[in-house]
Amino acid sequence: MKSLQELAAIRDRMKQTVNTREAAHDTTRIVVGMATCGIAAGARPVLNAFTEEIARRELSGVLVTQTGCIGLCQYEPIVEVTMPGQDKVTYVKMTPDKVARVVSEHIIGGKPVAEYTIGAR
């Protein structure tokens, strides 16, 4: 270890680890429906796409997690996003391609992507 920069580089590289373990205390939650219906409709790739996108953009305080059946099986994969001070937004028929836009416009920009939501159906 020859400099503080080297140390900082390791810390930055490990940021995702810290975020995963500290996210439980934070507020933005991305919940992917992962019951049998969700998994069958392709929820796993969606979940992984969210995890990767959050890590790529080095966002902290965002919890990506799963839940069971939300009850609207025909609209799976369903993703619910809860942000502090906002109503819950429900995205339906999600695909990994749609993830980047949700992260950039909604999670970062604070503006839900209306056309992906259940209201647009």
Binding site: M1, K2, S3, L4, L7, I10, R11, R13, M14, K15, Q16, T17, V18, T20, R21, A23, A24, H25, V32, G33, M34, A35, T36, I39, L47, N48, T51, E52, A55, L63, V64, T65, Q66, T67, G68
Partner: protein, 596 residues
């Protein structure tokens, strides 16, 4: 990229209840379900709630699974990791609310009043991965010290923080460093006392198992402050997991150049070695510890000269306890004021206690100084099991004393404990209920010090032995009231004349139990009775002829053949044959056998 982390406790407590196999089962099951690229299994240090081990925590949700069995693993993987439904049935019941929602661990009685500074990374990081320690600001304090601060500034920060030695005596850490820094020498040493020997104490072990790098970082900081280039961690060989993790950590730190020459590109160089102790209690005493590192028999020597002047290999040396070191990097990063804002006037920060004995939540707790014993026992500890009453708590192990129920609201800090005749000690906290005989407890601790006395000085070697004989006389029902005076006189003499801390504190358990429970001693002597029903020589077992149904179970159980009687007739015990093992009481279904 892992979306979920499965943290399996790899502390000694959980390892002894098979957590290794559970971690392996998780890895196998995760592979079987194809989740290996999404979920990572990590073996951590102690979570603190040892009573409920083996413990598994799953992030990002922070779900806390307790008493996990191998056969539960498949269900947790299928339900929680695959489908995202935490298995509430297997979660720690305190984290599940009545409406089946899951509460944060921070809201449970056990964790709510705790404040984790020394233990902050325990259960949070993988102790065998230096990168994880760095991710949680590890080695940032060392970097700051080496690039921004002078040694004097480091010492001043530690002084201002009010940090005192966590090994028990409570000497101001900054002052110790200042003395050693002021002495010029060609070579100085930094030592770490990890020779945790008190019965029931496991704080230092848990820190080394859960966060070994924090000790390495703090020792390097101390070395910079006093001008040392070599350090030793003196750790008992009875702690194999701690030794193994510390060895791994030292090697990783060397690989990264965080130990070795020219750390962070400065002209500061420091290296560290482990010295294994053979488990002698006296080697926790500083001069004996250093003598042992030198390769000699571990015996204390008179002070002065103090180690800061003439310590290891007759060079200026500082010796701090594991937990003391664990506080140092945080103090450097967050400042002396931050640390000094916690605790009481003269005892700053937090203290880790190993909570044991007659208490529901056995485990490791870290509380701000000044927390009352009541909070620890009733809230964090969850109270006494089986509806028994709290009688006393022993702090400081064989060097400390008891705190009776009447003083349960005493705020715990160094000075308050001394004032009530106990001491902080390294942090063992043994809770006793009404079934505990205080004479017997005093005897237990004294037997320990008699065994562990190194024999170098007479007051300790002979004095503690004679003191134990007097106690044995009392528990055998042969004591006299004059013996109590003799005990007090001898105890004071041992305290005043022993060479080292072991002897000077050995009579404390006797003196403090006599101070608060003298009536129990008197009861043993005058009425030949042990009120708690512990001292065998004073017990008599009796069968109540009204309650006895003559089932013959007791007679068949008795190993001494002391119980006689015919079927369906009340039985009786021949007290001359009875060995007072109590086996009959446990077997009797009718509660007909009593002791007293």
């Amino acid at each position: 990229m892992y979306r979920s982390h499965v943290m399996v406790c790899g502390g000694t407590g959980c390892t002894s209840s098979n957590s290794d196999k559970i971690a392996q089962a998780f890895e196998d099951e995760i592979l079987a379900t194809g989740l290996q690229d999404e979920v990572k299994v990590i073996r951590t240090g102690c979570f603190g709630l040892c009573a409920l081990g083996p413990i598994v925590v799953i992030y990002p949700e922070g779900s806390f699974y307790s008493m996990v069995k191998e056969e539960n693993v498949k269900e947790i993987v299928d339900e929680h990791l695959l489908k995202g439904r935490p298995v509430t049935r297997l979660l720690y019941d305190e984290t599940v609310a009545e409406d089946n929602t899951i509460k944060s661990l921070d809201d449970t009685a056990f964790y709510k009043k705790q404040l984790r500074i020394a233990l902050r990374n325990c259960g949070v990081i993988n102790p065998e991965n230096i990168d994880e320690y760095i991710a949680f600001d590890g080695y940032a304090a060392l970097g700051k010290v080496l690039t921004e601060m002078t040694p004097d500034e480091v010492i001043q920060t530690i002084l201002d923080s009010g940090l005192r030695g966590r090994g028990g005596a409570g000497f101001p850490t900054g002052l110790k460093w200042k003395f050693a820094a002021g002495n010029k020498a060609d070579q100085k040493y930094v030592c770490c006392n990890a020779d945790e020997g008190d019965p029931g104490a496991f704080m230092d072990r848990s820190i080394l198992e859960g966060d070994p790098h924090v000790v390495i970082e703090a020792m390097a900081i101390a070395a910079y402050a006093i001008g040392a280039s070599q350090g030793y961690v003196y750790i008992r060989a009875e702690y194999p997991i701690a030794v193994q993790r510390l060895t791994i950590a030292i090697n990783q730190a060397r690989e990264y150049g965080l130990l070795g020459k020219n750390i962070f590109g400065t002209d500061f160089s420091f290296d560290l070695d482990i010295k294994l102790g053979a488990g002698a209690f006296v080697c926790g005493e500083e001069t004996a510890l250093m003598t042992s590192i030198e390769g000699k028999r571990g015996e204390p020597r008179p002070r002065p000269p103090f180690p800061a002047v003439k310590g290891l290999f007759a060079r200026p040396t500082i010796l701090n306890n594991v937990e003391t070191y664990a506080n140092v990097p945080q103090i450097i990063l967050k400042g002396a004021d931050w640390f000094a804002s916690m605790g009481t006037e003269k005892s700053k920060g937090t203290k880790v206690f190993a909570l044991g004995g007659k208490i529901k939540n056995t485990g490791l707790v870290e509380i701000p100084m000044g927390t009352t014993l009541r909070t620890i026992v009733e809230e964090i500890g969850g109270g006494i099991p089986n509806g028994k009453k709290f009688k006393a708590a022993q702090t400081g192990g064989p060097s400390g004393g008891c705190i009776p129920a009447s003083l349960i609201d005493t705020p715990i800090d160094y000075d308050n404990l001394i004032a009530i005749g106990s001491m902080m000690g390294s942090g063992g906290l043994i809770v006793m209920d009404e079934d505990t005989c205080m004479v017997d407890i005093a005897k237990f601790f004294l037997e320990f010090t008699v065994d562990e006395s190194c024999g170098k000085c007479t007051p300790c070697r002979v004095g503690t032995k004679r003191l134990l004989e007097l106690l044995n006389k009392i528990t055998d029902g042969k004591g006299t009231m004059e013996d109590l005076d003799k005990i007090e006189e001898l105890a004071e003499f041992i305290k005043a004349n022993s060479l080292c801390g072991l002897g000077q504190t050995a009579p404390n358990p006797v003196l403090s139990t006599m101070r608060y429970f003298r009536d129990e001693y008197v009861e043993h002597i005058v009425n030949k009775r042990c009120p708690a029903g512990v001292c065998k020589a004073l017990l008599n077992y009796k069968i109540d002829p009204v309650k006895c149904k003559g089932c013959t179970l007791c007679a068949r159980t008795c190993p001494a053949g002391a119980i006689s009687g015919t079927v369906r007739q009340p039985h009786s015990i021949d007290t001359t044959k009875c060995v007072k093992c109590g086996a009959c009481v446990e077997k009797c279904k009718f509660g007909a056998i009593s002791k007293g």
